[in-house]
């Protein structure tokens, strides 16, 4: 089970007879695809791609809108057939107040054939731009220069933008705490008048998302399926509300940490947007997560020790960097536990009886993490 989930992926496979791309062969959550402005796919020399331009696009409407999204990751592979100064190209946009990506050439083509462009990314009312991107549109019989753009946003405010696998832009406080719903999205833009010239050939597209409660669902996958029977409606309601509040507080803490330990960055600035402290937390959190999964699976003391040691680094760093928010989060965790124990006693007993090994292992881990938090002044 994965927390980030696929919304849509299209590699534009080709027709065995004609070689033309087949835009209707894709992998996606259930929905309906519409190709605006007629048959817009075309064949470029040696490389099939789906042609988009002003007025020509693919729209995908989801059967069930995705709600409470707190992360989105867009990957797009494309090549340019034409780039014209001042003419904005809408590469991608979701409906409502979601994410959009637009590109505009800011000058004429250089003698080398490259055109300098500005990429504008927007999420709700948050807007950021990346200047100085160089693309070479195809001229004559030249082969198409394929580029791969990736945009990754997470609700702690981090926005990573990469081109051809290289980070080209980073924001440390891009709409922190934001969440949004998505009913569909477009590749290309129908809002502008249709343009006869197809100037972007899309050869790959992928959109993935993270929902607010995906991580809790993932935890559920570790439980005995019969566990559901022991949780009353009332208890479930309280537990869900508390869990969501806890996670929101925790994400806020992470957002504050990100803002104080990373900086907005562009490729031309040089240097590193991430402090050594941020890099250490990132690395230790990742390794702790892996060790924790190993421990839950095999119960080995070595895995538990590694998880605790790694989490210790993370907790100590967070407590030192955001002492007030850290203490508040610990206090809220205590309160949540008290509240749940008072109204979910039967459910707790049931859950424990269906998952004795899991409880035993987590409680052993918690006992060791308690020692860490006690030392940090927020003991349970």
């Amino acid at each position: 089970m994965t927390t980030w989930k696929l919304v849509y992926e299209n590699r534009f496979p080709v027709n065995a007879t004609t070689g033309a791309p087949i835009p209707n062969l894709f992998r996606a959550a259930r929905g309906i695809q519409t190709i605006q402005a007629g048959p817009v796919f075309t064949l470029f020399t040696g490389l099939p791609g789906f042609g988009i331009a002003a007025g020509r696009n693919i729209t995908y409407r989801l059967e069930s809108p995705l709600e409470k999204l707190i992360g989105v990751d867009l990957s797009m592979e494309f090549g340019f057939v034409g780039l014209f100064e001042g003419q904005t190209l809408s590469l991608f946009s979701t409906d409502s107040a979601g994410l959009s990506a637009r590109l505009v050439p800011t000058g004429p083509p250089a003698p080398s054939g490259h055109t300098v462009c500005r990429l504008t990314l927007q999420l709700d009312d948050g807007v950021t731009t990346i200047d100085g991107l160089r693309f070479r549109p195809r001229v004559g019989a030249q082969s198409l220069e394929l580029r791969r753009l990736q945009v990754h946003w997470y609700t702690n405010g981090q926005l990573h933008v990469s081109l051809d696998g290289q980070l080209i832009g980073y924001e440390n406080a891009f709409k922190p705490g934001h969440r949004f719903n998505m009913g569909g999205f477009s590749i290309g833009d129908v809002q502008q008048p249709a343009n006869a010239v197809i100037n972007v050939a899309v050869t790959g597209f992928r959109l993935i998302e993270l929902r607010e409660d995906s991580a809790v669902e993932a935890i559920g996958q570790h439980l005995n399926p019969q566990s559901i029977s022991c949780v009353s409606d009332e208890c479930a309601k309280v537990a869900l509300a508390l869990q969501q509040q806890l996670l929101r507080d925790a994400r806020k803490l992470m957002a504050a940490f990100v803002q104080s330990n990373t900086s907005t960055w562009r490729q031309e600035i040089g240097g590193n947007p991430f402090s050594l402290r941020a890099v250490a937390v990132h690395k230790n959190a990742n390794l702790a997560g892996l060790a924790l999964i190993r421990y839950l699976r095999d119960g080995s003391p070595e895995s538990r020790e590694e998880a605790v040691a790694r989490f210790k680094v993370v907790l100590e760093t967070l407590a030192a960097d955001q002492p007030q928010a850290f203490q508040q989060l610990v206090a809220r965790g205590n309160e949540a536990r008290e509240q749940l124990l008072s109204c979910c006693q039967d459910a707790e007993r049931g859950l424990r009886s269906f998952n004795p090994l899991l409880f035993e292992r987590i409680e052993l881990l918690n006992a060791e993490l308690d020692k860490v938090t006690s030392r940090l002044g927020g003991g349970y």
Binding site: T2, T3, W4, K5, L6, N15, A16, T17, L25, R27, A29, R30, L62, S64, G71, I208, L210, A215, V216, E217, A218, I219, G220, Q221, H222, L223, N224, S227, I228, V231, C235, A239, L240, Q243, L246, A250, R251, M254, A285, N286, A288, G289, L290, L292, I293, L296, R297, F311, V314, G333, R337, Q339, L341, L351, N355, L357, L358, I362, E363, T373
Partner: protein, 520 residues
């Protein structure tokens, strides 16, 4: 599984035949000729084996262990300490060298479980690679881990028309005799009539599959006319499909084209253990027994008929398509590529992701992602929320970490071991190994030992009951000791691959299969 003698008798009674115009001996040639090169990742610990090795290998390795080590690998089944591997239902049915014999017991059916220990440690001990190509301790690109056992792949061919016909025969028997369907892990899992005959709404739009009796009867008539070579009657049926409860119906012509024009050669890659977690990842997939991986080649019925009639060279009959199996069907992540009419076997290769054993078409990094509309609103989110509140310290941190990082991807490589059906050139012997292709006998049933064409695994008097019991086993291949047991049962993927074939034909990704010539 049901009594093998009874299964065999049933097969005789109905004249069971999944391969139609092509016989077993020719299929063996075809399967060996066209097995794609199998490119394993250099890190791979478990390589493809055949079904009997799930039983024979742990028993043989266990025998060689010191008594003290043996104690560590015995398996407890209801307070009984058993030698690996074991087969159990509610209690122990077989263990050690005699475990496979348990498959012959009538009570050992879909409720049974096979296990060689239920954890990675046991799988490593019995099946895991123990050396690299250059005998250095650490594998690397170009210096792959080598398989512990000779590589083996199970191939099964099903001509689609015959397979559907046999499915419908079994459906009729099930109705008349109260049999369970599918009857075993081989026969009765290809009812695609729901794709063939569709109801129409008042506005002529698709209103879902026609009702079961109507579509079954229609498919039987269509197949009968096709077998009789009555093209006009077939066309008449397609143009005038039956009413269904007062509603009009429509035949999906692409489905019919695929059914009457194609056969699927499925290669089953089977692994002792899915150890994806060994390579990191928040993706929690790990389980004992990983028998449902592999790929499939789509062949044209008419070309195979000619191949058989003219005793031709299978190399001259390239497939239409190569389809690979990537994780579960509901993830819709299988891969397909069209094959050119002038292709040769050397053009085909598949790449096995380390650990998960998902099969891909290229060497790359493949993000594995569930679809956004799958697994939503899981009921288990409720107890999970409670758990998170009660035990928030570790789990809260884990949840944050878990959502922050994308899942680790499947990774395939072209710098590991290559498996091939042709003999290996001695100069490549450190990175290439020959694969034994074991072809399940699915042709017309016959007890004549001199008949190379008609051979069926169901002919137990000819091939023994053990072969049928082994392949027909419907139980679970593993008893993983983690929190959620993801060990699978055998999955017949013919219907799954068929959907890809139909989609490929509908979209033009695949060229249409050759038609039977009309005799004037």
């Amino acid at each position: 599984m049901p009594d093998v003698e009874r299964l065999s008798q049933l097969a005789f009674d109905v004249g069971l035949d999944f391969t139609g115009p092509i016989g077993h001996a020719k299929l063996e040639e075809l399967a060996r000729a066209w097995l794609p090169f199998i490119r394993f990742h250099e890190d791979e610990m478990f390589h493809t084996i055949d079904l009997d090795e799930f039983y024979s290998v742990p028993a043989a390795v266990f025998e060689t262990l010191d008594p003290e080590v043996q104690r560590q690998f015995r398996i407890i089944v209801r307070d009984v300490l058993a030698d690996p591997p074991i087969v159990r239902t509610d209690f122990l049915r077989g263990q050690g060298p005699s475990a496979q014999q348990a498959l012959l017991f009538g009570e050992v059916d879909a409720n049974a479980v096979y296990s060689h220990g239920g954890n990675l440690k046991a799988a490593d001990k019995f099946f895991g690679s123990v050396r690299t190509a250059d005998d250095t301790p650490v594998q690397s690109p170009g210096n792959p881990r080598l398989p512990r056992l000779p590589l083996r792949v199970r191939a099964e061919f099903r001509m689609l028309l015959e397979t559907l016909k046999q499915d419908l025969v079994l459906a009729e028997l099930a109705e008349q005799q109260g049999l369970e369907k599918p009857i075993d892990a081989i026969w009765g899992d290809f009812d695609v009539t729901g794709l063939l005959l569709r109801q129409l709404s008042n506005t002529d739009s698709d209103a879902g599959p026609a009702s079961l009796p109507i579509r079954h009867e229609f498919a039987r008539r269509l197949i009968r006319e096709e077998e009789n070579g009555n093209a006009a009657a077939v066309e008449q049926l397609i143009q005038n499909p039956p009413q269904d409860g007062g509603r009009p119906t429509k035949v999906n012509r692409t489905v019919w084209t695929a059914l009457k024009g194609c056969g699927l050669l499925e290669y089953h890659f089977m692994y002792a253990y899915n150890d994806f977690s060994r390579y990191g990842g928040f993706y929690t997939n790990e389980h004992e027994g990983d028998p449902n991986e592999g790929c499939c080649l789509v062949f044209e019925r008419e070309l195979l008929r000619r191949l058989q009639d003219e005793n031709g060279d299978p190399v001259t009959v390239p497939p239409l398509a190569l389809i690979t199996s990537v994780h579960k069907d509901e993830n819709h992540d299988d891969k397909m590529r069209a094959i050119d009419t002038d292709a040769v076997p050397a053009d085909l290769q598949v790449f096995v992701a380390r650990g998960s054993h998902a099969t891909f078409l290229d060497a790359d990094v493949h993000d594995f992602l569930d679809l956004a509309d799958l697994f939503r609103q899981s009921d288990l989110a409720l107890p999970a929320a409670l758990l998170l509140g009660l035990l928030s310290r570790g789990l809260l941190l884990w949840a944050l970490t878990h959502e922050h990082f994308n899942p680790d991807p499947d990774v395939t490589s072209d710098k590991g071991l290559t498996g091939q059906s042709a003999p290996v050139n001695p100069s490549d012997s450190d990175t290439h190994q020959q694969v034994e292709v074991v072809v399940t006998r699915l042709s017309r049933i016959s007890n004549d030992p001199t008949n190379l064409r008609d051979q069926s695994i169901y002919a137990v008097s000819r091939f023994g009951g053990q072969a049928l019991a082994l392949r027909a086993f419907r139980g679970i291949y593993g008893a993983h000791t983690g929190f959620v047991d993801k060990s699978p049962q055998w999955e017949n993927k013919t219907a799954r691959y068929f959907v890809h074939l139909v989609r490929g034909l509908e979209t033009g990704q695949l060229r249409p299969p050759a038609e039977r010539p009309i005799l004037l």
